[in-house]
């Protein structure tokens, strides 16, 4: 029998026992035992009621009377676990403050950790002095306790912790490894919003010696961040701090070597020359006796293989031996890496190895393998037969929804992209829905069959599979099958009579939706079951795309009031909603396969182009040159939120005002922006497109277009007034009052600046580009920029003024430098390439002087760039 000292332990009894805390003569050993029991209960997931917790807490505070160190340690731990409320905290504050100033290091360190954990901030100013002292305490445990507490407190009380910078900076120099680590972490968090300070911190520490491996790992992370934020161009290999990362590959601690190797592989646009030393150390890890090292290395190489497959091929032999690794995670990663780097001749051998091992790995690994096989098949379409067979085999085996979906998605993509794989792929899918437990997958496959099946050489062979669904499945799948049948009937005239027979049988289905669909199709397909062509208009009506975003349609339908007037699909706004930032970030998880729109999703520029070209008045403006990022014209959290995108054409500009209405009780109609261009003399308003309706929480756009002299970078200031008719809405019923009131809402001014006419376009090798551009239209001049905060600030200001792309990381100014050269490239309106070389120098203590050299394909453009700087 399992013996346990806690056998039969019971909360009530332990709470009773806790009364010993109140004894006048404390027995430290017994008290410790009771605390251990309480902690055991909490650890097992037992909860104390508020009353119980308070009672225990008050009893525990009595234990500060004991001078027993062991007991005191347990008291610290249980106070943290009980997480007392604010009024309870007051009871222990003075005891803890006393411990904080004790001569015993252990008391000081722990009291700091406890107090900082439970305090709500009001106490903090009282103890701040002690914490600052503790940070530079000669005992490393005390210093670390204060620093780590600082890291936690920074979240809640940043303004206080930021005052400790000097002490923290001193602690970074500590000889104790972990103090250095904790100090560095805190210092960076204090400064993280100050790019310049972080730059400075990184460049001074990368030169010095950091003792602790953990601190060194931190430094590598900070360095990568600095590199990430500073460079966009990497072709020349002059990446700042690369040497530091490479040097870390020779560090004696494995965690540092690995951190550096991983950082190098994750550099933006990493070159194969930069990758080589990192791959070499990772390759060594692959044959380590430690599973953790093998895993870390193979996981990193797996990621590298996605973007730089050839860089990883050197490791293929080591990878192959990992297929039989005891650790299945390592084996899976090795296999998928090989699938990414392998060549056509190795496919069959790999597939054999994989088949053996699929059965003993978990679904999530199988999904990874399936994804890898899909990409392999797209890479080597000639191998589609064996790869498609593999997919259909695993589709028949046991597996959860996500796994099955991954397989189905892969087959769908292969059918789309490899014409030879279509027929066999469709049949595999048909067989799958014969025995598919997932409604979602069945309906998606039926929909897909309806699109692809009729286009095959023998569409009739799919009908049986589809009609079987009508017998055997739930209503959702049956309805899907009815629609798919109708599609075959509409597209393949010869099948129409048979389809009509089948659809008629569906009229007796016990589900409304299934019957309705069948009725609709029987009445619209036409010909009454004869072999006749289906009318194009009918096809378009039944199966054509709606040409409006579904979200908008949904909104309009919700707002539609059933009445005499039929719902008009033309009233649905076609404008694409502006995605909030958070959604954009999540684009890494793009839908693929069934859920995805056929071609890749359009980029922002494409989306804007599409949107603008849908407005006939803008058609004559020619090609869109540039669209700016949205500029907010309202404060956050106002009634109406408006931002504007500036679209630049050769002879026109269009302002796209994205408006949203945040008041549920209002409907805005006929929304326009009245633009006063009196401070933009070269612009003449030519068109204004109002927004018909702006309901609550459903953003829309209004446009104003201006004519401007062609090819000229005219600048100016525009003041904006939102004008609209406001109607009251009853938010509970959605009922809108008939009468509206005209109203106006002042927006912020908008400026069109020179940078709006410049596209950020990098060059891969600036020197080559500069030489080949030649001196024909070079224009060089010198400027005084007056006193500036720093050289870096001046460099930034000029870059922003010109709106050009910094090259080769030259926008980063090393700290304490007296001069700096910055290289920029871009394309100016009229599609003129422009290269700029800026040389900055400090003239006296603060005064910055600049030499500006511009080369371009057009003399007037070179002059225009100088004009921008001269007037900026």
């Amino acid at each position: 029998v399992d013996y346990s000292p806690f056998l039969g332990i019971e909360k009530g009894a332990v709470l009773q026992e806790a009364r010993v805390f109140n004894d006048p003569q404390l027995d430290p050993r017994r008290c410790s035992q009771v605390i251990t029991k309480l902690l055991y209960l909490l650890n097992q997931g037992e909860t104390f009621t508020k009353v119980e917790a308070t009672e225990v807490f008050f009893a525990v505070t009595k234990l500060f009377q004991s001078r027993d160190m062991g007991l005191r340690r347990m008291v610290y731990v249980i106070i943290k676990e009980l997480s007392p409320s604010a009024d309870e905290v007051i009871i222990v504050t003075s005891s803890l403050m006393k411990d904080m100033t004790s001569k015993t290091d252990m008391y000081r360190a722990n009291a700091i950790r406890v107090l900082c954990r439970i305090t709500d901030g009001t106490l903090l100013t009282q103890i701040e002095r002690y914490l600052k002292q503790a940070i530079v305490d000669k005992n490393p445990v005390v210093a670390s306790a204060a620093l780590v507490s600082g890291i936690h407190l920074l979240q809640t009380n940043p303004e206080i912790v930021k005052r400790w910078s000097n002490e923290v900076q001193e602690a970074v120099q500590s000889r104790a490894a972990l103090v250095q680590f904790h100090a560095l972490a805190l210092l960076h968090q204090i400064r993280q919003n100050d790019r310049l300070a972080v730059n400075k911190l990184v460049s001074s520490l990368t030169r010095g010696s950091v003792r602790s491996p953990l601190a060194q790992c931190l430094l590598i992370r900070y360095t990568s961040q600095v590199i990430r934020e500073s460079t966009n161009d990497t072709q020349t290999g002059d990446r700042p701090f690369y040497d530091f990362l490479e040097g870390c590959l020779r560090h004696k601690a494995e965690m540092v070597i690995f951190e550096a190797a991983r950082a190098i592989t994750e550099l933006n646009g990493v070159t194969s020359r930069e990758l080589t030393p990192a791959i070499t150390v990772l390759q060594l890890f692959l044959s380590s006796s430690k599973p953790v090292l093998r895993f870390a290395a193979v996981r990193t190489l797996n990621k590298v293989a996605m973007s730089h497959p050839t860089a990883v091929t050197n490791c293929n032999i080591d990878m192959e031996s990992l297929i039989s690794d005891q650790n299945r995670s390592i084996a899976t990663l090795a296999i998928t890496t090989l699938l990414k780097t392998g060549n056509e001749s190795s496919v069959d051998r790999l597939m054999k190895q994989i088949t053996n091992f699929m059965s003993d790995i978990a679904d999530e690994f199988k999904i990874v393998v399936v994804d890898a096989i899909r990409s392999l098949c797209l890479k080597f379409p000639l191998k589609h037969r064996s790869l498609m067979n593999f997919l259909s085999n695993i589709l028949r085996e046991e597996g959860g929804f996500e796994y099955k979906k991954a397989i189905v998605d892969s087959i769908v993509i292969l059918i789309r992209d490899i014409p030879e794989a279509k027929e066999s792929g469709l049949l595999h899918l048909c067989e799958f829905i014969e025995d598919c437990e997932f409604t979602y997958l069945s309906t998606q496959i039926l929909h897909f069959l309806g699109i692809e099946g009729p286009k095959t050489s023998d569409p009739s062979k799919y009908i049986r599979y589809i009609y079987n669904r009508v017998h055997l499945e739930n209503a959702t799948v049956r309805a899907g099958a009815v629609s798919t049948l109708a599609k075959f009937g509409a597209m393949v005239d010869g099948l129409k009579p048979r389809i009509f027979v089948l659809l008629r049988r569906c009229l007796f289905d016990n589900d409304d939706e299934v019957r309705d669909r069948a009725t609709l199709y029987l009445n619209t397909l036409g010909g009454d079951g004869a072999v006749v062509e289906t009318d194009e208009g009918v096809k378009e009506f039944l199966f054509g795309s709606l040409d409006v975003p579904l979200v908008n349609l949904e909104n309009s339908l919700k707002n539609y009031d059933p009445s005499e007037k039929a719902f008009d699909i033309n009233s649905v706004p076609k404008d694409v909603k502006i995605q909030p930032l958070a959604e954009k970030k999540a684009t890494s998880k793009k839908p693929t396969g069934l859920g995805a729109p056929p071609p890749g999703p359009p980029s922002t520029v494409d989306a804007y182009e599409k949107l603008l070209s849908s407005i006939p008045e803008f058609a004559s403006f020619g090609k869109l040159f540039k669209s700016s990022a949205p500029v907010e014209l309202t404060e956050a959290e106002t009634e109406y939120a408006v931002n504007v995108v500036k679209h630049i054409f050769d002879g026109h500009v269009v302002f796209q005002y994205n408006c949203s209405n945040t008041i549920p009780e209002q409907l805005l109609e006929n929304v326009t922006v009245i633009v006063d261009a009196s401070e933009a003399e070269e612009f003449a308003e030519v068109y204004s497109k109002p927004l018909r309706q702006l309901p609550y929480d459903s953003p829309g756009q209004t446009f104003v277009a201006f004519e401007k002299p062609e090819g000229v970078s005219a600048v100016g200031k525009f003041s904006n007034m939102l004008r609209f008719i406001v109607k009251e809405v009853d938010p509970s019923t959605g009922e809108v009052e008939d009468d509206g009131v005209e109203d106006e809402y002042q927006l912020e001014d908008l400026e069109l600046v020179a940078a709006d006419y410049m596209l950020k376009v990098g060059v891969s090798n600036f020197r080559n580009a500069w030489e080949s551009m030649g001196v024909d239209f070079e224009h060089v001049d010198e400027y005084g920029l007056g006193p500036r905060d720093s050289l870096a600030e001046a460099v930034n200001a000029v870059i922003n003024l010109l709106g050009m792309q910094p090259c080769e990381g030259t926008e980063v100014v090393p700290p304490n430098s007296r001069s700096h050269t910055c290289l920029l490239s871009g394309v100016y309106i009229g599609n003129v390439k422009v290269l700029v070389r800026l040389q900055f120098g400090l003239d006296g203590p603060k005064d910055v002087a600049m030499k500006l050299a511009v080369r371009s394909e057009d003399e007037t453009v070179s002059d225009a760039i100088h004009e921008i700087v001269a007037s900026g």
């Binding site: 902690l39 931190l218 494995e254 690995f258 005891q326 650790n327």
Partner: protein, 176 residues
């Protein structure tokens, strides 16, 4: 967040039951969520041989490193982007410190009898997700540095003796 972060440290028995666990992340807000995680981790790893070298697995976007001795299963969890070797270093520190504190008798019975030491050990390794210390000798030394009250019974005195070497290491490493 760039600082290495520990999501949880678990010490389970050979049936996956809790001996001592500590969560530093809100990813598992309820006890049920915690138990579900522990069950998943345990089932996933129980058949592996993690007795000579620490093993590693990845699931639900977490990296879990683990090592077993007798009927004790040690786990350390980090986020999917965490440096695996840092997690393994924390695991090794915990594993070896418990070994020192249990004087080589590393099994569930001994662990439960010295649960106070194990809880203190967890308290010394990580604070709110941030790594405090990874050197087993230092960790064990800090845990034990207090149990020297005069009235300590025999069993605790033997711990003290067993840790004499550990403390020597501690002072030496602090004087370095």
């Amino acid at each position: 967040e760039l600082c290495p972060t520990i999501k949880n440290i678990l010490l389970l028995d050979s049936e996956g039951k809790r001996i001592a666990v500590k969560y530093y992340s809100d990813d598992w807000p309820t006890n049920a969520a915690k138990e579900a995680f522990e069950k998943a981790v345990f089932t996933k790893t129980q058949k592996t041989n993690a007795r000579t070298e620490a093993e590693i697995t990845m699931f639900d976007n977490y990296i879990v490193v683990y090592k077993f001795v007798q009927d004790l299963h040690f786990f350390v969890t980090g986020g999917e982007n965490e440096n695996e070797i840092i997690l393994a270093t924390v695991l090794q520190g915990f594993f070896d410190a418990v070994g020192l504190l249990l004087r080589g008798t590393e099994d569930k019975k001994e662990a439960l009898e010295n649960l106070d030491l194990i809880l203190l050990c967890l308290d010394e390794i990580v604070d709110g997700g941030i790594i405090l210390e990874t050197d087993a000798n230092v960790i064990a030394g800090k845990v034990d540095s207090h149990s020297m009250d005069a009235g300590a019974p025999l069993s605790e005195q033997t711990i003290t003796q067993a840790l004499a070497t550990a403390r020597e290491h501690l002072t030496r490493s602090l004087l370095k």
